[in-house]
Symmetry: C2
Subunit: 201 residues, 2 copies
């Protein structure tokens, strides 16, 4: 395989979505995020609303932490995984979330990124960016992260955020949004340069 | 505090020591690694051989995983921590290992880095770099990592290699030695630029 695919996992409020979009812009490649739902709909014949609902349901914990994974959720997950693999086959791109690090597995061209930030910074960012002002915004951020962790571990069988699963994990409070995008773009360029020199050997 | 200190934690065979030295060279700052033992000796009055022995002892697990932490080990650890804090006060530098991420704690200028790589790559690197050719080299690499994990958790009370403790965690097989050093140097420059713009506000 030539080229690369960048998979970005991110804590809520860490700026991961914006970082993914900027890194893609720096590299001149597409970035797929929420539009994966539309593409999954086209692929599977399921409606976008149905897929979004299945995803939201998958991120919700029932009381006492009981987790259910119904056939609708599995169907949506498999269809989405197919879409991710097809996009990766089409050429370099950035894919945000959706367990894409797991779905892309050990593809040699896959660069796995994890973006995190201290909780207090993520709460401030959410208040600003999503115009959230509820008094319980910190609880909401934690709840969404728990949902992402639950979704990830249910579909992959692994805990969310294990350091050794990622080629690059970074604290966006240390780098800033632009800085994080630059580091990711640098890593992608290194990967390309190494692929080229390997081919020349 | 102005400036920054880079703390590098690393899996055995990931190239962390060389990466630290190259990042320091790119930034024009000193890198402290094994020479910390000599400095600790000067500081504490303990002999370098004594400190090296205490450190080696601290990384050894007794049968059944029993861990002992004697007064000699604690004395060496505290003296070493003092040396790390003094070096950080003197100006920008790179410090490799020695729980420096924990010792430097929440200093605003501290950049915490973790270097890892797949086990197979680390085994190849060790065979090459340290001229190790024993048939049980993989066991040896694992044993040294267990020692580092044990040393870290005994002195800090935390598991070794938690993703969210590090500003930048990277897989040196994806970046190469030079690439990793470049990413770390870029992060340090970003940190400096942000400190400068904060002061100008």
């Amino acid at each position: 395989m030539s080229g690369y695919v960048i998979s970005i996992s991110r804590e809520f409020g860490s700026g991961g979505r914006r970082i993914g979009a900027r890194a893609a812009k720096l590299l001149g490649i597409p970035c797929y995020d929420r539009d994966l739902i539309q593409k999954t709909a086209e692929k599977s014949g399921l409606s976008p609303a149905f897929i979004a609902r299945a995803e939201a349901r998958a991120k919700r914990l029932l009381p006492l932490g009981v987790q259910l994974r119904g056939p609708a959720e599995l169907q949506a997950f498999f269809a989405q995984s197919e879409v991710i693999l097809e996009l990766a086959d089409q050429g370099p791109c950035v894919i945000v979330g959706r367990c894409s690090d797991y779905v892309l597995g050990d593809r040699p061209g896959c660069l796995k990124i994890f973006i995190h930030a201290p909780l207090a910074d993520r709460v401030s960012r959410c208040a600003e960016e999503y115009h959230l002002s509820a008094p319980n915004i910190m609880d909401r951020v934690r709840e969404i992260d728990r949902g992402r962790a639950s979704y990830y571990s249910r579909h992959t069988g692994r805990p969310w955020g294990e350091l050794r699963r990622y080629d690059l994990a970074l604290n966006s409070s240390a780098t800033g949004i632009d800085g994080a995008a630059e580091l990711i773009a640098s890593l992608a360029r290194m990967k390309l340069a190494r692929q080229t020199s390997d081919r020349e050997l």
